[in-house]
Structures are given as structure tokens and as C-alpha cells.
């Protein structure tokens, strides 16, 4: 009981000690902590939760998300105000998530940590204002824009060439007239009036991340007075077969012109590139407002071209830069094709580069494939084949037939390039072919062997027909075996002789011998039922019965 009371008292006391401290900490803890990053400048802002002015300071720590290594945030230790600048933190990587925590301190008491939600500095950073340098001409202003942040900026280290810039320009006298243009780091704003004060401001944008920066301060500049020698205008460039034609407008005569070119990619890189402009060959000191130069000057790519005029009064400013896309579709010459017939029923085709292509600078870096069209000379049916090899065969063709082929070269993987023209058509006749000869020989042999067989079959067939429709009178051989005696055989089968019976009229005794003869004959007749008759001379089965009857008559006569 006592122990229970003691324990309860102890707990209450402890609670009393703890609770005030907790409430005190809660009062100190900062609120609404925010991070502001502009370029490489990192700011932390918060609100103090305690209203009374006390000796409260704030300290912050940071760590990379995932590690367990809180470090003191430089520039944010024991800060009495509501913000601190921790730009000196040397973040090795602004693309990794950072954790921040901040707490308040009053004497020896510290509040609990306020943990800021982890963030990626790069994604939180705002794009600051770019640095702008201006130079004036009579009708244009030259801009030199440096990317936001310093040259050694960590935040924009990867994006220095990726910024695009938006310029807003207006006449100082009337702020209504505004023009917005998207410019490169080194660019010009044209179509201005001479001797006017123009003001402008510039902001940078990272298009890929949809992030727009703050505007720079306003810069103002006066354009110069009108130049004595005006710049050429309305530059046009067009392709014509193997050349480019560069044209421009100029109001005056007796002027020489000069044209220069630059690879457009250089304009994306901050910094001056005035020394990178190069003369266009055959466009130096031309007196006409056009010049022509070979296409080979520009390999495929995007270029900028500018022109300036000069006469006795001086040299003009450079004209507006004209961008053009030299889609130098590599001129591919048609291939040389040859075809020959091989021993099988096939044709071997060989495709090669033309002799001319070895002299012209055809770009060897593009692998070629060949579109081959193959057809039988007499028909219109064409077969189209894409071949990478230079030697290939068309097999299984008809022998002794003329086939024709033509081919053109294409750049593999570049369907936009229509390739070369077709080569000349080459025709070739296939050989007779061993296979047909073989068939011929086989056919002949088959015929030769089959003749006796056919003859034999025909003979058998005729025999059957003869047997059925024109039978012989010979008995079957089995019967023949049974009745091997000649007279019987004669009786049964022979039709050549007629069995005649001799009849004699008995008038005297001399007749007895005759009767004996007939008796003999009768006796013979008694043993056998069948008998021949003499009636009509025709032998038929029906007469057998009559023959029997006749023998009966004889017997009756004998008995008489």
C-alpha cells in the first residue's frame, strides 16, 4: 500500500518535471519552414513559434536521404533571425534528395527537430536572372547573355547550353510598345529604329523542365544614328541541283558584298563566337546581289549565313542572320550492274559502285543497300528485292528465258534519302539447263522401256477380246486331260467331221454284214448318250437330244 503510494507520488513528480519541459519545447519549435533556392544560393526561412522576444536561436542539420549522417548546415547555426543562407554547403550532387531539420535553442533547452520534407535541390531551385551585355547598332541591338548562376555553378552545370532566353523590348518613351523574342545567348534584335532609346529585360527558361526563371533587371540602350552604308536585307538561300544560290536585296549599286557562314550549333553555346564565322567561297567581294557556291561546301546540318555590304563610304553592319538547313542528301550515283547465267537455272547478279563515285566525295560512312528489280523480259511482272550483298543469285528460273535486272543504291536506315537513280537495265538469257536435259533423257528411256510393255498389254487385251467375242472350240486344258483318247475327243469336240450313219435298205442276206456294222455302231451308240445327227449338217447342242432320239429309233428298228 505504502509502496504503491510512493510509486504514484514519484510518477506524479516526474510528470510535473517532464510536462513543463515538454510544453516549453513545443513553444520553441520553429514553424512553416521553407527552402528557397535561386541558382546556387540556398536559403532557409521559418517562423518562430514563441511570441516573446527571448534569446532563441535556431540551428539546422542536413543529410543525404538514406544515409544516417546528420551534418551541421553551414551558415545556419545559432541563427537568431528567421532565415539563414547555407549556400556554402558543398553539395556534391544537387540531384540527390536532401533531408533538413531545424530546431530552436534557448540556453540549454532545445526544441524537437522540425524535419523538412526531403527534396531534390535541382528540382527546387529557381532559375535566377541572366547576365546581359548590350551593344548598339543603328537598327539592331547585339545581346550577349550569360546563363544564370556563375560559370562554376553547380546547379546549372549541365544546363549551361540548354537555356533559351526570352527578351521583352520596348521603347523607353512609350512602355506600351512591347516585343518579345526568343534569342540565343549571342544574338541580335533587329528591326529597330535608329537613335531611339530601347529598354529590355531578359529571362532564361529551361524548356525541357518547363521552368522559367526571373527577369533580369531592365537594361536600356540607345541605338546609333543611321549608318551611311545600309545592311543587305531579305537574305534568301535556295538549292539548285549541285549548287546553292544566295540572294539578297540592296537598294544601291556599285557595292561589293561579302558573305559568311557559321555552324548553327555554336549559337547554342554561351560566349562570343565572332571568330568562328567563315567566308563562303565564291561569295567574297561580289558586286551582284547574289552568289553561287557548290553544295559540297556544306555537309548536312544547320547553318547561319550573313552578308554585309561595302562601298566607298564604308562597310555596313552585318545583315540579319539567315538560318538554313543544308539537308545534304548525299548524292549517290547509280550502281553498275552485271548479270551472267550459271550452269543451274539461275542468274548471278553483281552490283558495284560506279567508277565516277570513286572520284566524287561520296560519304563512305553511310552503308548502302541495293533495291533490285528483276523481271522476265516478256512479262511485266516485276520482283523487287532489297539486297545488302553485292553478289547474289536468282535461282529456280525457267531455262532458255531472257530475264532483265536493274538496281539502285539506297542508304540503309535513311528512308528520307531517295537514293540513286536506277542503273542501266541488263538482260541475260538462262542456259538450257541440265535439269531439262536430264528430263529429256529420262523421258526417252521411259518411252523406250515402256513400248514393249505397252505391246504386251495390248496383246493380252486383244486375246481377251478374242476370247470373249470370238472364242475357239478347244476345250479347256483340264477337260483335255481327262479325255485323252482320240476318238472320244473327236466325238465330243470335233466339228470337222459329221457323224454320218450309213443306212442301207435291207433286201437280201448280203445286208447282214451291213447290219453288223450298224450293230457295232449301235452298240457303240448304246454306251454313249450323245450322238451326232445328219439332219441339217449343223452341229448344235440341241441336236444331241435328237441324236438320242435317233439312236432310240435305231434300237427300235433293230428289235424289229
Amino acid at each position: 500500500m505504502l509502496a504503491l503510494l510512493g510509486a504514484t507520488t514519484l510518477m506524479l513528480v516526474a510528470g510535473r518535471c517532464v510536462l513543463p519541459a515538454a510544453s516549453g519545447e513545443a513553444n520553441l519549435k520553429p514553424k512553416n519552414v521553407e527552402i528557397h533556392i535561386i541558382d546556387d544560393n540556398f536559403f532557409l526561412k521559418w517562423n518562430s513559434s514563441s511570441e516573446s522576444v527571448r534569446n532563441v536561436t535556431f540551428s539546422a542539420d542536413y543529410q543525404i536521404l538514406g544515409t544516417d549522417n546528420w551534418k551541421k548546415l553551414p551558415g545556419c547555426q545559432h541563427i537568431s533571425s528567421n532565415k539563414c543562407n547555407f549556400s556554402s554547403v558543398e553539395l556534391k550532387n544537387v540531384f540527390e534528395k536532401i533531408e533538413l531539420r531545424i530546431r530552436a535553442e534557448e540556453g540549454n533547452n532545445t526544441s524537437t527537430w522540425y524535419e523538412v520534407e526531403p527534396f531534390v535541390p535541382f528540382l527546387e531551385a529557381q532559375i535566377g536572372p541572366p547576365d546581359v551585355h548590350l551593344e548598339a547598332e543603328d537598327k539592331a541591338v547585339i545581346l550577349s547573355i550569360s546563363p544564370p548562376g556563375t560559370k562554376d555553378s553547380i546547379m546549372w552545370a549541365l544546363d549551361r547550353s540548354s537555356f533559351t532566353y526570352h527578351v521583352v523590348i520596348w521603347k523607353n518613351s512609350s512602355s506600351l510598345e512591347e516585343r518579345t523574342e526568343t534569342v540565343y545567348p549571342e544574338d541580335k534584335i533587329y528591326k529597330l529604329s535608329p537613335e531611339i532609346t530601347y529598354c529590355l529585360k531578359v529571362k532564361a527558361e529551361l524548356r525541357l523542365q518547363s521552368r522559367v526563371g526571373c527577369y533580369s533587371p531592365v537594361y536600356c540602350i540607345n541605338t546609333t544614328e543611321r549608318h551611311k552604308v545600309p545592311s543587305p536585307e531579305n537574305i534568301q538561300i535556295s538549292a539548285d541541283n549541285q549548287v546553292y544560290v544566295l540572294k539578297w536585296d540592296y537598294p544601291y549599286e556599285h557595292t561589293t558584298f561579302q558573305a559568311q557562314w557559321l555552324s548553327a550549333f555554336l549559337k547554342k553555346i554561351p560566349g562570343k563566337h565572332s571568330d568562328k564565322w567563315k567566308q563562303i567561297p565564291s561569295c567574297e567581294n561580289v558586286t551582284t546581289t547574289r552568289c553561287v557556291f557548290p553544295r559540297a561546301v556544306f555537309s548536312s546540318g544547320i547553318y547561319c549565313v550573313r552578308v554585309r555590304a561595302s562601298n566607298g563610304n564604308g562597310t555596313s553592319f552585318w545583315s540579319e542572320e539567315k538560318k538554313f538547313n543544308a539537308e545534304m542528301k548525299t548524292v549517290i550515283l547509280p550502281p553498275v550492274i552485271s548479270m551472267r547465267s550459271t550452269t543451274d537455272d539461275s542468274l548471278c547478279v553483281s552490283v558495284g559502285a560506279s567508277e565516277e563515285s570513286e572520284n566524287t566525295p561520296v560519304n563512305p560512312l553511310y552503308p548502302l543497300i541495293y533495291e533490285v528489280i528483276f523481271w522476265e523480259n516478256t512479262s511485266n511482272a516485276e520482283r523487287k528485292v532489297l539486297e545488302k550483298r553485292t553478289d547474289f543469285t536468282f535461282p529456280n528460273l525457267k531455262p532458255l528465258t531472257v530475264y532483265c535486272v536493274k538496281a539502285r543504291a539506297l542508304i540503309e536506315d535513311d528512308r528520307r534519302n531517295k537514293g540513286s537513280n536506277f542503273s542501266e537495265t541488263v538482260c541475260e538469257k538462262t542456259k538450257p539447263g541440265n535439269t531439262s536435259k536430264t528430263w529429256l533423257i529420262a523421258g526417252i528411256c521411259t518411252i523406250l522401256f515402256s513400248i514393249p510393255v505397252v505391246i504386251y498389254v495390248v496383246r493380252v487385251f486383244l486375246r481377251c477380246v478374242k476370247y470373249v467375242f470370238f472364242p475357239s472350240s478347244k476345250p479347256p486344258s483340264s477337260v483335255d486331260e481327262y479325255f485323252s483318247d482320240q476318238p472320244l475327243r473327236n466325238l465330243l469336240l470335233s466339228t470337222s467331221e459329221e457323224q454320218t450313219e450309213r443306212c442301207f435298205i435291207i433286201e437280201n442276206a448280203s445286208i447282214i454284214t451291213e447290219i453288223e456294222e450298224t450293230n457295232e455302231i449301235d452298240e457303240v451308240h448304246k454306251e454313249y448318250s450323245s450322238q451326232t445327227s445328219q439332219d441339217s449338217g449343223n452341229y448344235s447342242n440341241e441336236d444331241e437330244n435328237s441324236g438320242v432320239k435317233i439312236s432310240e429309233e435305231f434300237l427300235q428298228q433293230d428289235s424289229v
Partner: protein, 184 residues
């Protein structure tokens, strides 16, 4: 129309890989045996720089997940890779180890490709039609940042450039595979 230009990527890669490999030859050659030349020339510089190798941690997940990319994400990724390679090469024209002509031609080509992708990329950003694209871009930025920091720390010396060149070639093969997926 919008995506047909992506077929040009293969052209770029054919051009660039052969261009880069041919730069190793002692004279600018038009020989077809480029791989042979690459091996002979490349070996000399690479072997001596082997100790300078660093793991830059190219986002391997990108390679694996490339097939799952939608066209919008793939365009953003490709544009970012092109842009970053452009950025790295423009830092120091002369000491990349490749001849300046080669580097300039490569930059011209990269710029041309970016130019072609720009209208598509603008459209995508306007429609906000990307899902994985921006996280992929962030991973890529980490990787390229480590490359740039490495070059800076080594003061753009020959070996550092050798190591980075190898990375660039690897990037081209990644682009090539991405183009392949897009084409299908």
C-alpha cells in the same frame, strides 16, 4: 510525321560510331576495316588509362525499362541524352582526344537531331503527357553530373577524356536501342 524523324537517330548513330571509330586511325582513312583500326588505335590510349576508370552508374534501370517507355517518355529521354552529350563535348573542343573536325561534325549532327526533336518535345511538354520521363531525366542528370565532375576533377586530361569517350559511345548504343524500340 512527328516520330518519323526519329529514324534519323540510326543515321546519327551510324555516322557517329563510325566517325568516332575512324578517328582512331593514324590518318583519316576511308577504309572499311574500321573495327580493326579502332582496336589498334584505341588500345593504345585505353590501356594506359585503365586505372582511371570509374563507375559512373549509368542508370541501368533505364536500359532495362526502355522497352516500357511510351513514346513521349522516350522522346524526353533521347533529347536529354543528346543535350548532355552536346554539353559535355562543348566544354572542351580540343582535348577530347578526337580530332576537332570529328567533334564539330558530331556537334552539328547532335544539334540537328535536337532541332528535329524540339517540336515534338514542345508538344509533349504542353500536353504534360509524360509519366516516367521526368524521373528518368533526373536519373540521367545524376549520371551526367558525375561525368562532368569527374572531368573537372581530372582537369580534362587525356585519360579522363578517354574514359568519358567510352561512356559517350555507350550512350549512343543506348540511344540506338531506344530508337529501335520506338520504331517497333
Amino acid at each position: 510525321m512527328t516520330y518519323r524523324c526519329l529514324l534519323q537517330m540510326a543515321l546519327l548513330l551510324c555516322f557517329s560510331t563510325t566517325a568516332l571509330s575512324s578517328s582512331y586511325s593514324l590518318r583519316s582513312s576511308q577504309s572499311r576495316d574500321r573495327t580493326q583500326v579502332y582496336r589498334i588505335g584505341g588500345r593504345l590510349s585505353i590501356v594506359s588509362c585503365l586505372r582511371d576508370r570509374t563507375d559512373f552508374r549509368f542508370p541501368q534501370t533505364l536500359m532495362k525499362r526502355a522497352q516500357q517507355f511510351r513514346k513521349e517518355d522516350a522522346v524526353l529521354v533521347m533529347y536529354e541524352v543528346l543535350q548532355q552529350i552536346f554539353g559535355i563535348l562543348t566544354r572542351d573542343f580540343s582535348s577530347t582526344g578526337w580530332s576537332e573536325t570529328i567533334v564539330e561534325d558530331l556537334l552539328v549532327e547532335l544539334y540537328g537531331q535536337m532541332n528535329r526533336l524540339e517540336p515534338i518535345q514542345k508538344e509533349i511538354m504542353q500536353k504534360k503527357n509524360f509519366t516516367m520521363g521526368d524521373t528518368a531525366v533526373l536519373h540521367l542528370k545524376k549520371y551526367y553530373f558525375s561525368l562532368v565532375q569527374y572531368l573537372k576533377s581530372k582537369e580534362y586530361n587525356r585519360c579522363a577524356w578517354t574514359v568519358v569517350r567510352v561512356q559517350i559511345l555507350m550512350n549512343f548504343s543506348f540511344l540506338k536501342s531506344l530508337t529501335g524500340y520506338l520504331r517497333d
